[in-house]
Structures are given as C-alpha cells and as structure tokens.
C-alpha cells in the first residue's frame, strides 16, 4: 500500500457517495481521476486488504437477530467444543480469549426465536452453559481504523 491507497482507505471507510457517478465524486475529493480510483480499489480488493466494498446491514431491522455468547470450556476439551460450536451455520465468528469464559462467538439467525434454539442445541451438545449477552444499547459501531 502506498500513501494514495492509505488516503483512499481512510476516506472511504467512513462512507461512500450515493449518487449517479459516485466514483467520480469520491475521486475528485481525493484528487484522483475516476479511472485511477477504480483501478486502485480493484487492486485493494484483489490483495485482500478490503474484505468488501458496500453496506453493513442492521440485522434486527431485517427481521433477523444477532447475539454475543460465551462458554467456559475446560482446556482439554477446547478443540472438540470449538468444532461442535462452529459446525452450526449460524455461528458468524468465534474467538478464543484470555478469561475463565474462554470461547466467545457471535450467533446470527434469520429470526429471534432461532437464537434460543441454537443456544439450546449447543448446550445439549457440549453439556456446558452458554452465557448469552445480547446488546442492550449500541453506543458506537465504526469498525474504522486509520491506516
């Protein structure tokens, strides 16, 4: 990545124009031509720097549900439990973390009722208690990082 790539990433993480010629509008603000901007975005996507270029949706407004859940897994069972949890297609991601609650995963489903079912299934399969911590308030969601 060169300095122009960094300027593009920093500028467009915050938002992208919704207009008839959005690349042209964004390029103008960055002092680039539309062609240069599109070529660089293609390369950044191909290089894997950008996971994608588009919208993030609010699952709840679309009728779906998302929650964060945790397990306290005995060390010797960790791999086996991770396999059981990750086998559920509703698990969006799963991290091992440093705490007595050492496995943290996101469950995303098409309906709110389905969350409870996935949790019950995981508890039955693992004989462990799932700590369900759905958000109460969202104070900030940015996912923006200066590069």
């Amino acid at each position: 990545m060169d300095t122009v790539d960094r300027r593009i990433v920093n500028a467009l993480q915050g938002g992208f124009p919704i207009s008839e010629c959005p690349y042209e509008d964004a390029a103008r603000d960055l002092g680039l031509t539309q062609g240069e901007l599109i070529e660089r975005l293609k390369r950044l996507c191909a290089d894997g720097v950008l996971s994608r270029f588009g919208p993030l949706y609010d699952a709840e407004q679309l009728g779906g549900a998302v929650t964060l859940a945790a397990l306290s897994v005995p060390g010797e069972r960790f791999e086996a439990v991770a396999d059981l949890v990750n086998a559920h297609p509703e698990i969006a991601h799963n991290y091992a973390r440093d705490h007595a609650l050492n496995m943290w995963f996101v469950i995303a489903t098409e309906t709110p009722e389905r969350i409870r079912q996935v949790i019950e299934d995981i508890e039955a399969e693992t004989s462990l208690t799932v700590y369900n911590m759905p958000k109460i308030n969202e104070f900030y969601i940015g996912l923006n990082l200066a590069v």
């Binding site: 270029f53 919208p55 949706y57 609010d58 679309l62 609650l101």
Partner: protein
C-alpha cells in the same frame, strides 16, 4: 420496521459489494429491474432509516497491520453506563462499544468495547488512556485479548450483517 420486498432484493444484490464501474447504481438497477434514480432514492432512504448502518469500505484488520484485538469490559453502574459508553465510543481505537447484560455471579461486566491495535503493547496503552480520560478507572474491568480466531465469515442467512457487530 418493515422493509419491502423490493428493498430486500436491492440489499441482497449489493451485499457482496458495489460494482467497480462508472455508474454502479445504474448497473445494480439493470440487474433487478429498477431505474438508477430509484436505486439511489431507495439506498438513501435505507441509510436514513438505519437499515444500512454503514456504506463504504470494509477493511481486513490483520492485512492492514492491526494484529492485536482486545475485548475490554467494565462493570459500570447502570445509571452511568449510557454517558460513559458514548464517551468511550468517541476514541478512534474503539471500533465497537455496546452495553450488554451482566451474567452474575460469573460475569459482572456490562460495558463492552472492542479495541484494535498494531500490537498488544499499543492496545494496552490505548486502554490505559481510555481508563484515565473517561473515568472508567473507577470501575472493575477485564481485558480479554484474542488468542485465536476459529471462524470468521458472515453467517449465511440471506443477508449479511457485520459479524463483528453483534
């Protein structure tokens, strides 16, 4: 809030990413039988309503050199968590900030921040700054660095959301 079938079709069409062509909204419209103006109006309305939370680049943290991430949690009195959570969310290294329920006695924490940094030392410095400047120093907290990522991909349920943003 109700989202129409046409809007859902539009969201499904762009969820994989905006086409890298001169007139991407016209291109999307051609695929699903809408005019460019209709696509633009609908997308603007979906952003205004918050159905689309963010519209822009989504970066891969690790590929950009952000190798450490910590979930930092605090036990903040319920009557203060709103004010302090909003303040914490203004720091550039805080990428997500939520209030969640405590699960006593095992889990006493109700404020959750995700903090990304180039390495653990940087993340620890950022946490120290956050604690000192926001008054969070007064409350019990825990820092949960990630040791390993097992799975990261959008859950497959038709329309993708930010998986990090549960």
């Amino acid at each position: 809030m109700w989202v129409s079938e046409t809007d859902r079709e539009l969201l499904a069409e762009i969820e994989g990413g905006l086409p890298l062509v001169r007139d991407p909204y016209a291109e999307i419209g051609r695929r699903i039988g809408l005019s460019e103006a209709d696509v633009i109006d609908r997308l603007r309305a979906l952003v205004d309503r918050g159905v689309i939370k963010r519209f822009g680049l989504v970066v891969r943290h690790r590929e950009l050199g952000y190798l450490a991430n910590a979930m930092v949690v605090w036990d903040v009195p319920d009557d203060l968590v709103q004010t302090i959570g909003q303040r914490a969310g203004t720091y550039p290294f805080v990428t997500l900030c939520y209030r969640r329920p405590r699960r006593l006695p095992r889990w006493p924490y109700n404020l959750f921040c995700m903090i990304h940094g180039r390495d653990r030392i940087t993340v620890r410095e950022q946490i120290a700054r956050l604690n000192a400047e926001t008054g969070l120093d007064d409350y019990d907290h825990a820092v949960l660095f990630s040791r390993r990522r097992f799975k990261q991909c959008g859950a497959q349920y038709g329309i993708r959301t930010a998986p990090e943003a549960a």
